[in-house]
Symmetry: C2
Subunit: 236 residues, 2 copies
Amino acid sequence: MTYCVGIQLDDGIIMVADTRTNAGVDNIATFRKLYLFQRPGERVFMISTSGNLATSQRVLSILKERIEIDDEDNLFNVPKMFHAAELIGNTMTDIVARHQAAAKSSRVDFTSHFLLSGQIAGQEPELYHIYGEGNFIQATRDTPFFQIGESKYGKPILDRVIRCETPLNQAMKCALISFDSTMHSNLSVGMPLDLAIYRKDSFEVKLERLEVNDSYFSKLRTAWGGGLLQVFEQLP
Amino acid sequence: MTYCVGIQLDDGIIMVADTRTNAGVDNIATFRKLYLFQRPGERVFMISTSGNLATSQRVLSILKERIEIDDEDNLFNVPKMFHAAELIGNTMTDIVARHQAAAKSSRVDFTSHFLLSGQIAGQEPELYHIYGEGNFIQATRDTPFFQIGESKYGKPILDRVIRCETPLNQAMKCALISFDSTMHSNLSVGMPLDLAIYRKDSFEVKLERLEVNDSYFSKLRTAWGGGLLQVFEQLP
């Protein structure tokens, strides 16, 4: 399983992804699921993935290659964010169609989900959720965050806290708590975590990895767990 | 959808169930999903259900009828709690098999899930989760609660709070918060809520219904939501 969150705020964008993949509980591995494409000062894209790892890695390889060979459709020349979403969706559906044709009777699900966020100079930052069928939706002020993968355990705290006006650092804290709740309840989501923070109009992404024993995250988890129990005990 | 929780504690048992059923979002209704069978001073059973409503209602009707006609297998003469779980499981699989045979090509899922808890005089209180296939598991000191239906949103708080030693009233509060989180995130779980509190060896169940505007529940929700945000704001 996987868990990824993308949040679009007035101040910018937050993306967090775990790094655990599993095919059954006895086949667990660590893979990066948060990718960055940037052309300093001009455009920046953050992409996180869930679902079939072979498909999502292939999509990312193709996206990279298209930039390298300066293909007519590549992330560095699409005029708008939604063209980037379309490019990802189409690249995926091509791959999925090929695998499905090759493995007719197999019941493997070849689809992946993507969160795409970023900004192109002169335009607003945007966040998209690209479905396994290649179609996509865009975050709005009413619904400023998307989740992919194991999303339910971590949704209540996002529902309560996240608004467009939430500052970047508060939103990051909230995303980390959402991951804490998810990892507490589902073994198939695990550390380390990849974090991306993007301040609007900066065209520069701060990318960090929280390792298993990260001292800030440990402090945050303890403070949150303890605080919750305290609130609980003071309830009427 | 549905959400039901059963908790087995040193002091007794808590069961909570919502009352919303839906077949699509435009076909929503209120149905009781928490049932009580008791013979004062001698035995008590609490049963909650999720899944196919036709199946679970039919199971309950048969369980009642078997008591009325004093069938050789009925809830009031089973010697142990696990026989009651077996009775429910077998009753369900009979019904499911009949419907599946009649509707061969249909993809309807006829199965239900049940939580069964209670106590028979001279024995300990017990809690069971009966699966759609009729088999079942029993709660233990390590895993003192079960959920059926839309369980993920409400699981983190139960994971954090519930231990065998938790007092009954604290466990009930925790269950209500778990419902609050679930109803916040999933429209198909809804008020009113049915609550059952059973104190060990009392052979008497306190059954209550929390209506939509219940003042205590509103207070609890507000205090919890406010407290959460406060803890959040004080995080490092």
